[in-house]
Amino acid sequence: MSEELLVTARDNALIDPGLHIWTWEVAMYLFLGGLTAGIMIFAALMVVRHKDEIAPFATTRLAMLAPIVLSLGMTTLFLDLEHKLFVYRFYTSFQLTSPMSWGAWILIVVYPMSILQILSTLRSGYSFLAVFVDRLTIGRLILDWCERYRKEIALTIIPFAVMLGIYTGILLSAFSARPFWNSGVLGILFLVSGMSTAAALVVLLARQRSEKDLFTWIDLVLIVAEIGLVALALISLASGSAQHLEALESVMGGSYTLSFWVLFVGIGLLIPLLLEALEISGVNKSLAMLAPVLVLIGGYALRQVVLDAGQESTWTNYQTQYNSELLQRLQRSD
């Protein structure tokens, strides 16, 4: 036998008995951040490819959602901070080796870009809003400028949106102390998942048949790619060292097996893949709206499962004989 027992009190909140520093707030941020990246990428791609006729929603209206979704995500991220008043410290330095620092600065760049993206299609997408902007001379000039350079704006946005999508995965994969996250595939997996959820959102919100069909196709391709990346991530863990094998156990019989395979792979990938394939082949269209909803659920499930399983994977595994409830009994009630 080999037993490592903590014999002095150690009950550090969020760390003992097992690491649980990040909960739904961070998972939600990773999900919404990826969704924002996908929204901006598709809105930009549709502009670049002149898809105004085939996909009017994605070309002219989708971009409006980017800052809204991103703000929601940043709100949940802020909720997670333990030392909230010092949040401005993200912007008093740049740490080259910290993906989180990169992320903080990427967000600062992405925000104004998404505003430019909205303005470049405001007149065609949100004419009722454009009327107000056009009343001011400066507003009219800005809209004119953004419209004239809408293709250039879109092309500039794409690399930054891709960075936003990838960074949420790199953020986790940089933690060598958490073997489950320690795979380079994670960045690309989160990017593809983010794009897939954005495509699903377009299918849900677009009204035109041609647009729904186009994005169902796009989503189908992305889901196939995502399945491949999930397989690669698992293979990478399965061919790793003892710590990686132990980490893999958490989704291969361990505590996250059910949520990983049923919620993420089953409900989030395979069922929507099947439904979308049936829809495209024209066999069954009655459940067409279910697929995008499942994709969105799956996108969140991926972040939550990866976040939880990663925190469970560790280098140190102490059992503790310390019962924190005993401390409460020692406290006098005076």
Partner: protein, 179 residues
Amino acid sequence: MRFVMVIDTRTCIGCGDCVVACKTENKVPEGLNRDWVVEATRGTYPDLKTEFRSERCNHCSNPTCVTLCPTGASHLWKDTNIVLVAPEKCTGCKACIAACPYDARLVMHPDGYIDKCTFCHHRVEKGLDPACVSSCPTRCMYFGSIDDPHSEVSQLLKTREHKVLNPETGNDPNVYYLI
């Protein structure tokens, strides 16, 4: 300067005085601990081998908690390997906690910044040993610079068999255990 701690597992009895000394010296709030004692038992009865280890932050030479900190709050003290946290730069994002393979960090309450063992740098500055080392009743703990070949810690590591915890992490930890 590279500071190391050397702990003799052959004379440690697991009394936990180091833990009490740390809490007293550094006023660590109730329920939180910067150091702890592990009793590791290996073998099959009746051939059992027990080892006591007083553990804390390893003040690694490759501190992943410092490299991954987004604000520079986690930093090295002067030109040493002593890892400190500057509370006024810390957002409480907890990246450093996830980055530590030894789970040696904690969230300070009620404030919310991240806290950890400091190797009692405020004592080291005055030429004193960390509180845990100076209070050890069996004198099984040693502290000093490994850069000085004549220091007690250098001599011990030259003459005694020793190990560090999970060297496979690549963090290059600086708390040594004599075995």
